[in-house]
Structures are given as C-alpha cells and as structure tokens.
C-alpha cells in the first residue's frame, strides 16, 4: 500500500492506493485550481468575484454544476441546505469580512440566477461551497485515479473499489476511534460541532455550523462523498425524523453521537463499535 499526503482546503488529505499514483502532479494541480477558484478566503477566486460583483460572466461548467447542485439540494431539503449561509458565518467573524447588508437568502432559487453565460446574485446574497465543496473534491480526485483508492480529505472519505475497513474517529478524543466500518465504492463523511470554533470580535465563541442540536457528530454513508458531505452538514441542522427522511431519500445511512456520548446508527450503517 502506498500513502500520499498533502494539505488542501485547510486540512490534511491522505490517498492510499495499492501502488504509488502515477499522476500525483496532475491531481495536485487540480486541487490547487479548485482552491484558487472556489475559496471563500481568497479574494480573487471566482467565488469571491461572484460575491463581490453579484455576477460572473462565462462561469466554468464545473462552477455551474456546483451551483446547480446547491440549488437542487436547497429544494430537496426544503431550504435547510442553503449556500448563502456564508453571509451569516462572515458576520460572526469567520473568513472574510461580509459587507453590510449581506444576509441569508430566504428564496435562493430566486436570488441565484444561473445560465451557461452568466451567474447573477441578488445584491444581499453571498454564496459559498463550504457545505459540500470538500465532498465534491474528494469525488473528483477519486475519479482521477484508475483502480482502487482511498481518498481521505480531513476525515471525509471515498473508497473506490472493494470494501476496506475504516475507523471512525472519536468525536472528542484525538487519536482514538470508536469502531470500524467496511466501505467499498461508497463514501463516509462526518460533521461535528467541534470542528471549527473561533471567537468573534466581542470574544464570543462561535461554531461554523449554526443551529442547535444535541448531536456531537454525525457520520453518513452514501454513494458519493458529495452526497455524504452535504447530508452531514444538513443533519446537524434538522431533527431526527427529518434526518431519517432525507437518509431514505438519498439512500444514505446514519451514525449519530450525542453530547452524552451515546451512539445510534441505522441498521445499514454497519459500525462495529468497540466494546469496553
């Protein structure tokens, strides 16, 4: 087995394959281009240009596809998954400084107009790909590899090929796992409230996932990292009945860990928990 690691999107990435990958340079170039194009932190990215000017001419097909996906997920989750939530993040001090008046869109389908020639945003709307960008890139990298590979972007994984045994990290304790799960041609993504915590200008603690829930972390198995990543984000924001409904809709399986460190999984998730 060969393992290759690099940093991207603010986290560590690992790729494991039976043989060293011949196209590492090509993969890295794609990763850097993805960062340059879609980072919320980079003021010259296509995303920042769109947010600053409220329109972007001749957007690359990939960006159109990502936005279309975000709009579709907005519809399919009844508005819970909302790409414009970044404005709220920026107001709390995460990332770039949001201009006055930026706010979360209450009608994203109206506020984002998408054609192959042009993307147009309503003046108060700013978008970001934080809820699914990493999953998108995980899938993209996996597609660039011929043969089996494990692509792990900061804990969000796609396994291409036969089933592999993965460990699920303890949500609070670095260096520990809570059990294993076998995954093949499928993704395992996780969302946690602990992931990004920072303090705003007033010293108040902020977390990058708004809303309230007793979930410490949620782990999702789905056919693609894109779907698993998106659902992981959504699941922290909705209650369990809605989680189950969405999981059924997307053919996904859920493992939840509560703040009391109880775990709960749908039968198909297949976690083999460690026992004391």
């Amino acid at each position: 087995m060969a393992e290759w690691s690099f940093k991207a999107l603010g986290t560590q990435w690992w790729l494991e394959s039976p043989q060293p990958l011949a196209n590492q340079a090509e993969i890295l170039a794609v990763v850097r281009q993805f960062e340059d194009d879609y980072s919320r932190f980079n003021p010259s990215s296509l995303l920042s240009q769109l947010n600053d000017k409220h329109e972007l001419l001749s957007p690359p097909p990939e960006m159109q596809a990502m936005l279309q996906y975000g709009l579709d997920m907005y519809s399919q989750t009844g508005g819970v998954f909302n790409m414009s939530v970044g404005a709220q993040l920026e107001k709390t001090g995460y990332g770039r400084v949001a201009p006055a008046g930026a706010r979360v869109s209450e009608n994203l389908l109206q506020d984002v107009q998408l054609t192959s020639q042009k993307i147009t945003l309503a003046p108060h709307v700013r978008l970001d790909f934080g809820g699914f960008g990493k999953g998108w890139l995980v899938d993209k990298i996996a597609a660039m590899v011929d043969g089996p590979v494990i692509v792990n972007g900061g804990g969000d994984i796609y396994v291409k090929g036969p089933r592999q045994s993965l460990l699920i990290e303890h949500p609070l304790t670095a260096g520990q796992a809570i059990g294993s799960v076998a995954v093949g041609d499928e993704s395992l993504c996780s969302s946690s409230r602990q992931k990004r915590v920072w303090r705003d200008a007033k010293g108040q603690e902020q977390s990058h996932i708004p809303g309230r829930s007793n979930l410490l972390s949620v782990h999702v198995r789905a056919e693609s990292a894109l779907v698993a990543d998106t659902l992981g984000t959504v699941f922290l924001l909705v209650e369990r009945p809605k989680r189950l409904e969405l999981a059924a809709q997307f053919n996904a399986e859920i493992l939840e860990i509560t703040q009391d460190l109880d775990f709960w999984q749908t039968p198909g998730f297949g976690l083999k928990p460690f026992r004391s």
């Binding site: 770039r96 460990l167 303890h170 949500p171 969302s191 602990q194």
Partner: protein, 172 residues
C-alpha cells in the same frame, strides 16, 4: 451553560465534557501533523500561537489537581488554553482550544455548547429497532494508515497549532 471569554485572556469554561484518554492519543495527534508534506500549505496559515496555562482552580474547573502532577509520560496536570491566530486575506481569525490534563492524561478537549434540545427525549422510544449504545474509545494504532481514519476530525490547522503549543507547555 453559556461560555463567555475575555478576548485576550481565555478562561476555562466551567463545565466541559470530561473524557479519559491516554497520553498516547495526544502524542498521536501531535505526530500526525508533522507528516511529510509534498506541497505548499494552503490557507489558512497559522502565523502565531499563544497559550495560557492555569493550574486548576476550584472555581473554574471541576478537575482537582493531585499534589504530585508530574506523570510518567511527561505531561503536567493542569488546564491549558491556547489560541491560534491565523491570517486570511481580509483579516485575522482565532481558534481557541482548552485541554485539561489530569493524572498525566488528557481528560477533556475544548469547550462545548450547551444545547437545550428535546429531540433525544422525544424520539428515543420511536427507534427501538435501531442500534445504539455507549461510545467506547480505543487508541488508534500507530500502524493504522491515516487514510483509513474517518471522522469529524480535528485537523483544522489552527486547532493543530493550538494543540502543539499546549503540548509544549504541558511537557514536564
């Protein structure tokens, strides 16, 4: 519980989720951040890290410090808070991490929010068919390929920076 902070002098949150972990977990966490890298760092880049160390005080933490604090693994007991500052193109962000080390092992990491949420009580009875239990953590072997560890991992660079600062401070 509402966590309140002074922006320059992080204080310890009164109630935290307390977990026992072995120090090897902390070692693991530190070690994995210094894995070889083949490319330039991406934003955000940590540019400064500060740490404050407070020996446990009764009014700020529920952990009592044994008289003898030096443990065999070399970590001193205490409550450590580190704030990593990193610059993004339009400003500066901070990430703060609080760790309690008791009897030489990390007993808790980071403050957590208190969520007043009734869902677990409301729906528990509806899901008898599902598989549930209590989380049991086991150390990830040093031999495990990190590509196989999934989770809501705490690999954010700022967090890593803060952890490393704490590790340096906590070394006896």
């Amino acid at each position: 519980m509402t966590a309140t902070y002074n922006s320059t002098t992080p204080k310890i949150v009164g109630a935290m989720v307390i977990l026992a972990v072995t120090a090897s977990g902390a070692y693991f966490f530190i070690l994995r951040d210094i894995k070889p890298e083949q490319s330039r760092s991406s934003l955000p880049t940590a540019t400064s890290t500060t740490a404050t160390v407070s020996q446990p005080a009764a009014q700020t933490t529920s952990v009592n410090t044994p008289a003898s604090t030096a443990a065999t693994n070399g970590y001193k007991d205490g409550t450590y808070t580190a704030t990593a500052s990193y610059y993004v193109p339009h400003g500066q962000n901070n990430i703060s991490v609080t760790i309690v080390i008791k009897d030489g092992v990390v007993s808790s990491v980071m403050p957590t929010h208190d969520y007043q949420d009734h869902e677990s009580q409301m729906y528990v009875s509806d899901f008898d068919d599902y598989i549930s239990g209590k989380v049991v953590g086991k150390n990830i072997s040093a031999l495990t390929s990190l590509s196989r560890v999934g989770g809501a991992s705490l690999t954010t660079e700022g967090f890593d920076q803060a952890i490393q600062t704490i590790a340096a401070q906590a070394k006896a």
